[in-house]
């Protein structure tokens, strides 16, 4: 009697262990499948002209995503120019004075902003810039990306700056060094690794964002380096090519996906390298 009850409990325990282990395997299946498909199908689309030439018109085979690569770089560069000072500055603010009412309010709002769907941020920037300017532009796309980067940057910066011992800051003040110098040259510099991690993660996120670009940066068949003009980008190219009915474009979507995945992977690896595993998994 007691023996059979014990056997049943042990069997339940074993069964649940197997089930939970199976859950881990199930979690990894889509990841492995996705990586495999992107690498296998993407690699066959890659070539020198794929990286360097413009898209061909519908019906002509060939062409590349060179303008998308340049466009993504332009968008990310502008977004970083707008977003980095604001995001890092906000993070320093939260670390220095985040415990007051103003600080707590800003932190709360930043967390809410982080949860805003990116497509809504795109709508807002459309209303703010695209409509008044009567033009889709790289600038509008970058602003939308910057809005998404800022809360990530603020949070990552605050987390690492708070790890810097306050003694360091106070010792610097005690030596007569000005507050801004102590803040920037002592505290922020000590936290530089962590801030770099936050920057890389925010850039990685922005690099893959598609929805807000659809109606801000739009897209462009040609080369563009002007902030006030519509601009192609890798994620939007992937979307447009993937949903198109042309097999050649669909193949190119996989190639562009491989490029984007490599970019995001490099940025994530850089994020990890910058702190060498000291505080892994920040940013989220």
């Amino acid at each position: 009697m007691t023996q059979s009850r014990w056997a049943r409990r042990a069997a339940t325990d074993a069964a649940m262990t197997w089930l939970c282990g199976l859950a881990v395997a199930v979690t990894l299946v889509p990841l492995v499948s996705l990586l495999w498909m992107v690498v296998a199908r993407g690699a066959s689309a890659l070539s020198w002209s794929f990286l360097t030439s413009l898209p061909k018109p519908v019906g002509e085979v060939g062409g590349g995503v060179g303008n998308g690569i340049i466009g993504s770089a332009l968008l990310l560069g502008l977004a970083a120019t707008i977003g980095l000072p604001v995001g890092i500055g906000a993070g320093l603010f939260l670390a220095a004075r985040g415990d007051g009412t103003a600080g707590r309010t800003v932190r709360f709002l930043a967390e809410i902003l982080a949860g805003v769907p990116s497509v809504v941020a795109g709508l807002a920037v459309y209303a703010l810039l695209v409509r008044p300017m009567h033009r889709f532009s790289a600038l509008a796309g970058s602003l939308a990306l910057a809005i998404l980067m800022v809360p990530m940057l603020a949070r990552g910066t605050e987390e690492t700056v708070r790890m810097v011992p306050r003694d360091l800051f106070e010792a610097s003040l005690g030596l007569g060094v000005a507050e801004w110098k102590s803040g920037l040259l002592i505290v922020a510099r000590t936290a530089a690794g962590g801030i770099t991690t936050a920057v890389c993660l925010a850039l990685a996120r922005a690099a893959g964002e598609t929805a807000p670009l659809l109606f801000t940066a739009l897209g462009n068949q040609f080369w563009n380096l002007r902030p006030d003009q519509p601009t192609a980008s890798l994620p939007v190219l992937i979307f447009n090519y993937a949903v198109s009915p042309y097999p050649d474009w669909q193949k190119q979507a996989w190639g562009a996906a491989l490029l984007l995945l490599v970019l995001v992977g490099v940025l994530n690896a850089a994020a990890r390298l910058a702190t060498r595993g000291r505080f892994a998994g920040g940013g989220r």
Partner: protein, 312 residues
């Protein structure tokens, strides 16, 4: 009483640095405030864009099932239903798997395996949604069409009826599940790992098996944190745009079955906005954005409050 030149220079420098300090503090405060302002601007500008639709349809917009841009008839209900259905499906699929994986990694696996598996799982969260959508469209959808959907249709349930086409609400839910799984697993792992050791040791001392310790000791203590993680995952699922837009099939009809094509609040904005046929169409899409914003704000505030209470 003349001060010496170096002393005066030092004084001037001190004054300059004090100005620098004031500037520094003001600048940081301004950056902080601009984050707050950004949220305000996003809400205000979306509302401005939606104004014509808000004036024309008001709150009845949310309850109307008609979406016909060429006839100027707009209602949010089909997309609200699509959003709720796909998100619910995503959670129903991802919750048991994510929680099971978190339990395995936290309670059953050796620490080395945990570190080894956690990295790729979190990597999955970093993959851009447009790439997940590409995978959903060309890898998942054909499997759904040829294997999964014919099987489900045989059950005869009305919610699973229809022709298997691959793309549709069901596929969108699966893609969403794949996308929220890493968030869910990683947050659950934090919550379960944060449960006090004494909670486990007490039960082991009473002779409980490992599963009984988890079932009666760990999970009850982690309950509110797990609920918070679920709410955050739901918030991500609701707002997810590209992957859904690529596999949901894009139809504005009221969903009658999971096998049917449909749309979500986010996916219809992505698919129709640049091709809006009229200003009212654009405004109606923006109003869908407002509904989505309201939904996610509610959830993210609620989820954060719950998580804060249990983890910190």
């Amino acid at each position: 009483m003349g001060t010496s030149l170096p002393a005066r220079r030092r004084l001037a420098r001190r004054r300059l640095e004090r100005t620098g300090d004031t500037l520094y503090r003001d600048a940081l405060a301004a950056f902080g405030m601009s984050v707050a302002a950004a949220l305000g601007i996003v809400a205000a500008e979306s509302a401005k864009l939606a104004a014509p639709a808000l004036r024309r349809f008001g709150i009845a917009f949310v309850g109307s099932t008609q979406w016909d841009p060429t006839a100027d008839r707009f209602g949010a209900l089909p997309f609200l239903a699509g959003t709720v259905l796909t998100s619910a499906e995503a959670l129903a699929l991802a919750l048991p798997v994510g929680l099971g994986a978190a339990i395995f990694l936290s309670e059953m696996a050796p620490a080395r395996l945990r570190a080894m598996v956690r990295f790729p799982i979190e990597m999955l969260a970093a993959i851009p949604s447009v790439i997940v959508g590409l995978w959903g469209l060309f890898v998942l959808a054909p499997i759904m069409r040829t294997r999964v959907e014919p099987l489900l249709a045989r059950t005869g349930l009305p919610i699973l009826s229809g022709t298997p086409v691959g793309v549709g609400l069901l596929a969108a839910g699966v893609v969403l599940a794949v996308m929220v799984l890493p968030t869910l697993t990683s947050l659950s792992l934090d919550v379960v790992g944060a449960v006090d050791r004494a909670q486990r040791e007490g039960l082991y001392a009473l002779g409980a098996t490992r599963w009984e310790v988890i079932r009666r000791g760990v999970l009850p203590a982690a309950k509110s944190g797990l609920f918070g993680a679920t709410v955050l995952a739901l918030g991500r699922a609701l707002g997810e745009t590209m992957a859904v837009a690529m596999v949901v099939g894009n139809s504005p009809d009221m969903p009658h079955s999971l096998l049917a094509t449909g749309g979500t609040l986010a996916s219809v904005i992505a698919n129709e906005f640049t091709e809006a046929v009229s200003d009212l169409h654009e405004a109606a899409l923006a109003e869908l954005g407002l509904v989505l914003l309201a939904l996610t704000l509610l959830l993210s505030i609620g989820g954060r409050l719950l998580l804060r209470r249990s983890v910190r």
